[in-house]
């Protein structure tokens, strides 16, 4: 019998060998929500999925969340498995180099791994403070720096949809193709990721070119699109539960170069009238030099030298956490500036007030200004900042004077949230899909003392360039060898749009507003010998007069003046005067230039 058993085993092995196929778990998940679909190759399957997306998609709602479970796995548990010692060490080394790093002891959890476009992608997750952060590492593609992005746990606790998108359209690698006329090369892969509620078995990203299935595991999703076309942008997401329920989740589109998506329409609710006007507010404890919060050393802000010390002596500085359970920290300092700092902006010297924000992940920014300008006309200063363009969250942060007892933010979704405010400092993360927002400050008697509204800073309202219609209109070379390329094109409304790329300086751009505002001749003359500006529409030509006595007449192209000086003009002192002329050649504006 034993001999037969062995013979049988051998012959049966020859008949049907053990496959070396490892399977496609994601395909199983997709089938689980779309029964009776037959397996084909992955690409075919993806196309099949594409065909059914859009059917029976439910609106986002609390009922959906109840059906598929919640985010308890992320709120109270630890999805995934511990990262390898090597991955953990790489994270810690990177974290140690970051000024706005994560707390020591932060442990990564490995969530999803996949291979695409010749690269190995690994998605990690971890909680820190009141945030959930995801970190994508990429091996084998360059550039391919890790991407880390976070979402507040508040979003998970209150989520009425089964997925929370954290980062979209993170490009890695460069395709081996010729750059387009703007110098852009599409990435070898584009990655998007986020977390999902219990019970979500499949996720698809809508990019405008059909749905792209994502990998789903450990309460997270990761979509990697190999060789995406240039400008491919995620627009929405469909999360599918095991019982077939499909829920569409909005995505805040990421910008591409100077092209920003349209701002969300409408406006946030909330008060529109100021009840009490407050001028000349202050932060009493700071100017009394009370040791609130932490010292720079205690907060670790002195590791690379406090930025404010560049060009000045720190007279007094403390680091405050606006939200005790949050990660954001703000350093407030009084600095005696003797000369212009190397990289900060304050030009005036003397005692200045500086603030610097450190928020997740790697958001580090600050500013300085004369002490007297702080709260000169408003009791609250605000800003909205972020790091990666594809991040779905922005940090709302700022300072409130002693006159402000509490802050609230009203979101476009109708939500009304208390803003953490401690020792005159506030910071909180806001989902980009929930802009525009309205921040309201109240005094101790409940009177409105400050109102500020804002759109998502990664969007643009008003005219936008018509897609694909921008063309090179003029190119000049300065005596210093800088190449400036002007591209113009039609706008969705108004007089058109422009983009200016200067070699070695990056690019800028905009669209002409329906009505010109500001001076009629707002030209800039750079030290490299470039004259640039967007004059009023009535200016048909500009006469440039140089200090060597030469005169040049130039006409705006697409509403933009772009001119390069000659070496002689530049060496003799450059531009002295610009005169704007109308269609009849009559002077309508004049602008002088200092040496």
């Amino acid at each position: 019998m034993i001999e037969l058993d062995e013979r049988l085993r051998t012959e049966l092995d020859l008949l049907v060998p053990l496959p070396d196929d490892l399977g496609e778990w994601e395909d199983v998940l997709r089938r689980a929500v779309s029964p009776r679909r037959r397996r084909r190759r992955a690409l075919v399957l993806a196309l099949t999925v594409a065909a059914v997306v859009g059917l029976a998609v439910s609106p986002v709602g609390g009922a959906i969340a109840r059906q598929v479970g919640d985010f308890s796995a992320w709120l109270t548990g630890d999805p995934g498995e511990p990262a390898s010692a090597e991955d953990q060490r790489a994270f810690e080394e990177s974290n140690a180099r970051s000024w706005a790093g994560f707390p020591e002891g932060t442990k990564l959890r490995r969530l999803i791994s996949t291979e695409a476009a010749g690269g190995s992608f690994e998605l990690f997750g971890f909680r820190t403070g009141d945030s959930l952060c995801l970190r994508l590492t990429v091996e084998g593609l360059k550039p391919g720096a890790p991407a880390t992005s976070c979402a507040p746990l508040r979003e998970l606790r209150a989520a009425d949809s089964p997925a929370v998108v954290v980062l979209v359209d993170y490009g890695v690698g460069r395709q081996n193709v010729q750059p387009n006329e703007d110098g852009y090369v599409p990435p070898q892969a584009s990655a998007s990721f986020g977390v999902v509620a219990d019970g979500v078995v499949a996720v698809e990203l809508e990019t405008g070119e059909g749905p792209a299935p994502a990998l789903v595991a450990n309460n997270a999703f990761l979509a990697v699109t190999p060789n995406p076309p240039l400008r491919l942008r995620s627009q929405s997401l469909v999360a599918q539960s095991a019982d077939g329920e499909r829920t569409e989740v909005p995505i805040a589109e990421s910008p591409f170069g100077n092209s920003f998506p349209a701002a969300n329409p409408g406006e946030a609710p909330g008060p529109t009238e100021i009840d009490r006007r407050v001028d000349r507010g202050t932060i009493g404890w700071l100017f009394r030099r009370e040791p609130r919060g932490q010292s720079l050393a205690e907060a670790g802000f002195d590791r690379w030298g406090f930025p404010f010390t560049r060009g000045g002596d720190v007279l007094f500085a403390r680091v405050v956490k606006p939200d005790p359970v949050g990660h954001a920290r703000v350093a407030l300092g009084l600095v005696d500036v003797q000369r212009d700092p190397a990289w900060m902006l304050p030009r005036p010297t003397g005692e200045q007030f500086c603030s610097i924000l450190s928020a997740l992940p790697d958001v580090t920014l600050g500013s300085c200004g004369p002490v007297g300008s702080l709260f000169a006309h408003k009791p609250v200063t605000f800003s909205v900042s972020g790091s990666l363009g594809g991040s779905q969250y922005q940090v709302l942060h700022g300072l409130a004077s002693d006159d402000v007892a509490r802050l609230e933010v009203y979101l476009a979704t109708g939500e009304r949230l208390a803003v953490p405010l401690t020792d005159n400092v506030f910071a909180m993360e806001i989902a980009r899909t929930k802009f525009p927002i309205r921040l309201v400050g109240y005094d101790a008697d409940g009177r409105v003392v400050a109102i500020w509204t804002a759109s998502d800073p990664l969007t643009r309202s008003g005219p936008r360039p018509v897609e694909g219609e921008m063309r090179v209109a003029k190119r000049v070379v300065t005596p210093t060898g800088q190449v400036a390329t002007l591209r113009t094109g039609p706008a969705t409304e108004g007089r058109g749009c422009w983009e200016l790329r200067r070699s070695g300086e990056g690019e800028g751009g905009g669209c002409h507003q329906l009505e010109h505002t500001g001076p009629p001749l707002p030209l800039n003359a750079s030290t490299s010998g470039l004259v640039f500006g967007t004059p009023a529409p009535e200016i048909a030509a500009v006469e440039l007069r140089f200090r060597n006595g030469e005169r040049v007449r130039t006409e705006p192209v697409g509403g933009v003046v772009l001119h390069a000086l000659t070496a002689a003009q530049l060496e003799s002192g450059g531009l002295e005067l610009a005169i704007g002329l109308d269609d009849d050649g009559d002077e309508v504006a004049r602008q002088r230039f200092e040496r």
């Binding site: 019998m1 037969l4 058993d5 013979r7 049988l8 085993r9 012959e11 049966l12 020859l14 008949l15 049907v16 060998p17 053990l18 496959p19 070396d20 196929d21 490892l22 399977g23 496609e24 778990w25 395909d27 199983v28 998940l29 089938r31 689980a32 029964p35 009776r36 037959r38 397996r39 479970g69 308890s72 796995a73 548990g77 999805p79 219990d198 019970g199 078995v201 595991a217 309460n219 095991a242 019982d243």
Partner: protein
């Protein structure tokens, strides 16, 4: 982690740990590799859909094996002809029927229960208890079924080598 998520994780673990074995059995039953892959994927998808109806103490693996076998049999029945793997063998150039070909035919001619028991025994490495769970029969019946299959297959091997 909720019980639902835990059950989903168990299904995924089983899939990743035993996928080749599931495919192998399905391949043997259907006679077609693509059909086998499809059957396994569908069986696991069904397991996900039905996971909430499984009791906590229900053994997952036998349940999935049953689903794989049933899905494979469905596909096999849908085919009008004998599966390719177990089709009638051709004689080799010297006129001698090769062992594998004869065995293939002998397996194809086994009663279905015996054939499935052989597949689960040799391709899935299931013990008698596991085979009994999958086929819904007593352990003793598994023993008798495999013995009967062995007799037929041994006879075939002996005839071929004679």
């Amino acid at each position: 982690m909720s019980s639902d998520a835990r059950r989903l994780a168990e299904i995924e673990r089983l899939y990743r740990a035993r996928f080749p074995h599931f495919v192998r059995v399905a391949w043997a039953v259907t006679g077609d590799r693509e059909q086998a892959l499809d059957a396994v994927q569908e069986a696991f998808a069904g397991a996900i859909r039905s996971r909430r109806s499984l009791r906590r103490d229900d053994a997952l693996e036998p349940w999935v094996w049953r689903a794989v076998v049933n899905a494979s049999r469905d596909r096999r029945r849908a085919q009008p002809e004998l599966p390719e793997v177990f089709a009638e063998p051709e004689a080799s150039s010297n006129g001698r029927v090769e062992v594998s070909g004869a065995l293939r035919l002998a397996i194809a001619e086994l009663p279905e229960r015996q054939r499935l028991a052989v597949f689960l025994r040799y391709y899935a490495d299931l013990d008698y208890r596991g085979i009994a769970d999958v086929l819904g029969i007593e352990t003793g019946t598994v023993s008798a079924t495999l013995n009967a299959a062995h007799r037929s297959l041994r006879q075939t091997l002996q005839e071929v080598e004679r």
